[in-house]
């Protein structure tokens, strides 16, 4: 038998949720008020709880978050038998993937696969096609001398889409980690175009073999 009758309606089953508690049992209204004050309504994805990259957070299971801002990491092909500057690897920067004040950090390591006694240069370029022909030199890293087995370096590319410009420390120079704007050069960068960052190797002995061990591009916004 229900407790707390009011005007013939049991307050603990009151369908209108309008009746107050009595001294014996809490009313439906009181229970509702308590729940509203202490518990969150059912979550609705995209409404009361945000999504991550359009993925709902509701339900069980795991969502893997890729915290790596990498645009791409590549391993290059071996270069041998030529003294020409040769593409070992490249990374596509897709059209419309760059926003205002993006920084691209480029890391490159070239290795001597075989051969000794001669220098190996490694540079990186940018082009709207995946080709060195017509490419713009963006960075020259310290070359591998005859005794070096690898060489690596890093550059930051600052992109200002409001003026369609990319700036990089003077492209023909090896650098330290600190520099000022007078050491940088600026080239046109149209974010609506595809661009390729091309990692290149130049041998000074056709019998040697070298390649880009890794080329990595991180994007910071």
């Amino acid at each position: 038998m229900s407790q707390g009758f009011t005007k013939g309606t049991p307050i603990d089953t009151d369908p209108t949720l309008s009746l107050n508690s009595d001294i014996v049992v809490p009313s439906q209204k009181a229970v509702k008020s308590y729940l509203a004050a202490n518990y969150q309504p059912t979550l609705v994805s995209g409404t009361s709880i945000k999504t991550i990259n359009s993925t709902s957070l509701l339900g069980s299971g795991n969502i893997t978050i890729n915290g790596n801002p990498s645009l791409g990491i590549v391993t290059g092909i071996n270069i041998t038998g030529t003294l020409a500057v040769s593409k070992s690897a490249s990374v596509l920067i897709p059209a419309n993937s760059i926003t205002q004040n993006t920084v691209l950090e480029v890391l490159s390591r070239a290795i001597r696969v075989s051969g000794t006694g001669s220098t190996i240069y490694h540079d990186f370029y940018i082009n709207t096609t995946d080709s060195l022909t017509g490419a713009t030199l963006l960075g020259t890293f310290n070359p591998l001398t005859s005794t070096n087995t690898f060489g690596q370096g890093m550059r930051q590319l600052f992109i200002d889409t409001s003026v369609n410009q990319l700036s990089v420390v003077f492209s023909g120079a090896t650098i330290g980690t600190d520099y000022v704007n007078s050491l940088t050069s600026t080239i046109t960068f149209n974010p609506s175009n595809n661009y390729y960052i091309i990692f290149a190797v130049k041998l000074f002995n056709t019998g040697d073999t070298s390649r880009t061990q890794f080329g990595l591009i991180k994007k910071y916004v």
Binding site: L83, A84, V85, Y125, T129, L132, T133, T136, L137, G172
Partner: protein
């Protein structure tokens, strides 16, 4: 294959205009390639490019023609 169009003080490649630096600096980096210094960048050109639709087999001749 790209065709280079010469203009006064520079060239056009792939719809982009480049102006030579004041010293017309260039480096032959292999028998078929050169770095050509422009006012704000260094461009890699090679013998796969034609200049005004003319092909070249020697990088020095290519560069000489480019700067004439």
């Amino acid at each position: 294959m790209y065709n280079i169009t010469k203009i006064d003080g520079g060239f056009i490649l792939n719809d982009t205009e480049y102006m030579f630096d004041e010293f017309r600096t260039h480096n032959s980096i292999s028998e078929t390639q050169a770095h050509v210094y422009t006012t704000n960048s260094i461009i890699l050109l090679d013998l796969s490019c034609t200049i005004e639709s003319t092909s070249f087999t020697d990088i020095n001749s290519f560069l000489t023609n480019l700067y004439i």
